[in-house]
């Protein structure tokens, strides 16, 4: 059997704080296969964001092994293995949308012509074709977040890590973006790691739902989705969807009582 794209074995992370050590992650075992859409869900302090940051090499685990594309997270970052989308769009107000998307490309040293080509391509992917010359303040919050997803897609990372990217948006915009994200995922075949607070969002998007629980942060349950890959929005009314959401909720509750 092939090793998974993201492979965690017994990953632990302890932060040293003034109040003594805090165990943020304890014995996390998880394999994510190529092309999967994996959601991390759990209450605050369950380590879902911390685990995503470990994959990105922004935090270094204090125990266990973690590989990304067979490399250490640090090597994987230098090899441009992933694009990272934060909760806030974080677009620079002094750059146009196209300028913002070019930012990582400039840093990584792509040629000018290549930059232009890639900007055009990813703007199309997030349906912002005619917005390249606009400035961030001219766009709505949802459009800004799409621009930030475009920026994460601009270089050829085959992994997309998203930390509550739609957490600050209202529900209608969020539904729309969820639908677009699924379409994008189908077209690009990326492997996606997605942190969320929302059970419907997790169930709607994922092929695999990782339920986490706090103190210490650990995996309570991994639920494989039984939904088909093709998912119209109204699938959320189906009994299958409701049953899955129920399992996730049960998992969260058990983790919480433990």
């Amino acid at each position: 059997m092939k090793t998974p794209v993201i492979n965690a074995k017994g990953v632990c992370l302890t932060f040293e704080t003034n109040d003594g050590p805090v165990q943020a992650l304890k014995d996390v075992d998880l394999g994510i296969e190529r092309g999967e859409f994996v959601s991390f869900i759990g209450p605050s302090g369950c380590g879902k964001t911390t685990f995503l940051r470990c994959i990105a090499g922004l935090e270094v685990p204090t125990g266990g092994t973690l590989t990304v594309n067979g490399l250490t997270p640090d090597e994987a970052r230098k090899a441009r293995s992933y694009g990272y989308v934060f909760q806030a769009a974080g677009l620079y107000p002094w750059r146009t949308i196209a300028g913002n998307i070019k930012l990582p490309l400039e840093i990584m040293g792509y040629s000018k012509a290549d930059q232009e080509k890639r900007v055009e391509k990813v703007l199309g992917l997030v349906e912002l074709d005619s917005f390249g010359k606009k400035f961030p303040w001219q766009l709505s919050g949802g459009m800004q977040q799409r621009a930030s997803i475009a920026r994460a897609l601009a270089f050829d990372a085959d992994i997309l890590l998203m930390d509550e990217p739609f957490g600050a948006l209202d529900e209608i915009v969020r539904d729309h973006l969820n639908e677009q994200l699924l379409a994008l995922w189908a077209r690009t075949q990326k492997t996606i790691g997605f942190v969320t607070h929302s059970i419907p969002e997790a169930v709607y998007l994922s092929t695999k739902i990782v339920v986490m629980s706090p103190r210490p942060g650990r995996i309570a349950e991994v639920i494989e989705s039984t939904l088909p890959r093709e998912r119209p929005l109204d699938i959320r009314e189906s009994p299958e969807f409701i049953a899955l959401a129920h399992r996730v909720r049960e998992g969260l509750r058990e983790g919480h009582d433990a």
């Binding site: 922004l58 970052r77 990272y84 934060f86 002094w94 930012l103």
Partner: protein, 287 residues
């Protein structure tokens, strides 16, 4: 309109207080003169006299206005008695000092933000430098530079820079540290180098802080230049006008020079403010 009325009211009140104070402060001399001439002054005569003395303790507003008119408009700008001439001398040293101070301030801030050692060692010295009275250190700088053959604009500019670099350091350190943890993490996910992070994120983010500092710095630069013109018998510049006015009891000359300096400072701050507005608007950061 709603702003004009209150502003005018305040100005009128200030002028009235000024006129009253002129009467009070110049009355002694008027009475002494009258006593010497063995006459007495009625209240009306006293007021008229206190508002029109040659060397009053406190000149009345219209006397200062007359003094300003005589030394700004009614005289060739190249004359040694023109405030335009002296103002230009002061302005040129101020701008040179402001330039040096700004560059030095930015350079120090870049060092402080990127080097832990500089952060801990430079900042206390920068703060200490501002606690030394500039009046004490200015003559020494002028004398030392004079002894190695440097005189004229540069010593004044250095003293001016000494005052103006400090707000720039403080503002730029804060500005260069303005990007939040998320923005810096984002740079890390792209494996950006320190210099890429500096030019693309830290420097643009610092602009609002830089301009706020520059407004303080340019006013401080003007003060520094005027102080530098006081000692060592400088004969040119607004500071020299202030000093020679006080030597010869020419209070109208002192007040005229003071008003010229204040107007110059206000104009400089306004110009920096306009540039700030233009730049920040272009960068999409105007509030």
């Amino acid at each position: 309109m709603t702003k004009v009325v209150p502003v005018l009211t305040v100005i009128v009140a200030l002028v009235l207080i000024w006129y009253a104070a002129a009467v009070g402060m110049n009355a002694q001399w008027a009475r002494d003169q009258a006593a010497r001439a063995e006459t007495t002054l009625g209240f009306g005569e006293l007021v008229v006299d206190t508002w029109s003395q040659d060397r009053p303790v406190l000149p009345a507003p219209h006397q200062v206005a007359q003094g300003l008119y005589d030394s700004v408009l009614a005289i060739k700008p190249t004359s040694k008695r023109s405030l335009v001439y002296h103002g230009w001398i002061t302005l040129s040293a101020t701008l040179a000092g402001f330039g040096i101070g700004t560059l030095a301030g930015i350079a120090l801030a870049v060092g402080i933000v990127h080097s832990r050692a500089m952060d801990m060692s430079v900042m206390p010295w920068a703060i200490a430098s501002q606690t030394i009275p500039i009046l004490a250190i200015a003559p020494m700088i002028i004398v030392v530079l004079n002894s190695i053959g440097i005189s004229g604009l540069l010593p004044k500019a250095i003293i001016s820079a000494y005052l103006s670099f400090f707000p720039v350091v403080v503002g730029m350190v804060k500005g260069l540290r303005a990007p939040d943890a998320m923005q810096l993490d984002q740079m890390r996910t792209w494996s950006a180098t320190n210099s890429q992070t500096f030019w693309r994120l830290r420097l643009p983010s610092s602009m609002p802080y830089l301009f706020a500092s520059l407004k303080v710095a340019i006013a401080a630069a003007l003060v520094g230049t005027i102080v530098a013109e006081l000692p060592a018998g400088a004969t040119r510049g607004l500071g020299a006008r202030l000093l020679s006015g006080s030597y010869y009891g020419q209070t109208v000359q002192i007040w005229s020079a003071l008003f010229a300096a204040a107007a110059l400072a206000a104009a400089l701050v306004v110009i920096v403010g306009l540039i700030e507005r233009g730049v920040l608007k272009r960068m999409g950061m105007a509030q």
